[in-house]
Symmetry: C2
Amino acid sequence: MSGRLAVIGLGPGDARFLTPEAADEIAGADALYGYAPYLARLPEQAGQARHASDNREEIARASAALDHAAGGARVAIVSGGDPGVFAMAAAVCEAIDSGPAAWREIEIRVVPGITAMLAVAAAVGAPLGHDFCAISLSDNLKPWDLVERRLDAAASAGFAIALYNPASKARPWQLGAAFDRLRQHLPPATPVIFGRAVGRADERVTVAALADADPAHADMATLVIIGSAATRAIARRGLPPLVYSPRSARA
Amino acid sequence: MSGRLAVIGLGPGDARFLTPEAADEIAGADALYGYAPYLARLPEQAGQARHASDNREEIARASAALDHAAGGARVAIVSGGDPGVFAMAAAVCEAIDSGPAAWREIEIRVVPGITAMLAVAAAVGAPLGHDFCAISLSDNLKPWDLVERRLDAAASAGFAIALYNPASKARPWQLGAAFDRLRQHLPPATPVIFGRAVGRADERVTVAALADADPAHADMATLVIIGSAATRAIARRGLPPLVYSPRSARA
């Protein structure tokens, strides 16, 4: 009697990003697991249990949900953004990989969502319109020198860069160090986009030049995009600038 | 009298991926522009004009839509996946950047969608659960040696790689050349995912080892993900393997 576990992306904060597939999966679940603020976005539903947990307890949350599903239930874990991008889908796979054999019999369904970099990019134009990469700036799970090596590789090869987890109270200096590193590869005018709380009522998106980009503008709710050397900003009278990466590139 | 242009992502083929925001923007448009197969997904609406065009006419389509919006209309361009990822949002920005001054007064709204790599990743687990990059393999708009340099940079720095536009009738050898290049950096067992027509009735997702990956499995409707050296496949009895990239990494 093996159940089913859906790992569902809610997209950025607002319900206007929630796909019909995600809404259907949530409605059909016997129990929801998730970081408390994500669960709080969803209306209560009769007969549906809720298990809120702290942000840092990803493996514990995955294991509890897998245990529940292994008993035959239809269980869902909800995740902000897309569950496959620095989020719960990898944690669930890790738990299965090192967990009891019974967990390999559970049907796993990952339901994609709008990940933060797509919403932030959309808010300013198309900074990810050419080749780009996504890097988690957190050095909780990897050494800082590996982060630096990836920043070097990405910027010198002409990728735009989306930085997830750019800062937190416990990681105050990393974004400044990343900007310093990128200044060695990119022109001073390279656009840097700070997207905070995108899709929520307190959304704030700002654009700076790399030379002046202030890491203090980022916190846990911020996604940062750094353009490539080819990324351009179009000034517009009475409207915010449009930032985009041209589709074409020269060698 | 400057109008409004929305550039809307429909997500992968099926309506279950269409966000409420995208549906609202489509419903409110005076006119829709787009590649004919994308327009064909949407129900006809009384009083709403439709302008279908060929896949290759991106700048012409953007310019026509901007001209229309400049007259005061509420115009929408629809795009598969996310409009900001190798799609129409960058083409619109390029057209504005080199177009008449009046186009800079048009309100531009980019509406994000589920881009193909997120849907393909979700279909197999979490191969993009760690740092990753997205590369368009088309050498129509950039030289092939730049593509190769980016493949080298991404694979050697430990990024998983999503390849958009891996093949077409006019570009038959590029994916094979990319696999050969990546074999110089990555172990033979590195998982390669071919996601064809994801979200459509004829969806087909297959996983191969890099050593055996056959470029003939890809066509214009395919997205390819190549794992990093750390990406793992979990074998499951009676279920397809789960492919994921662990959240942690060593230097």
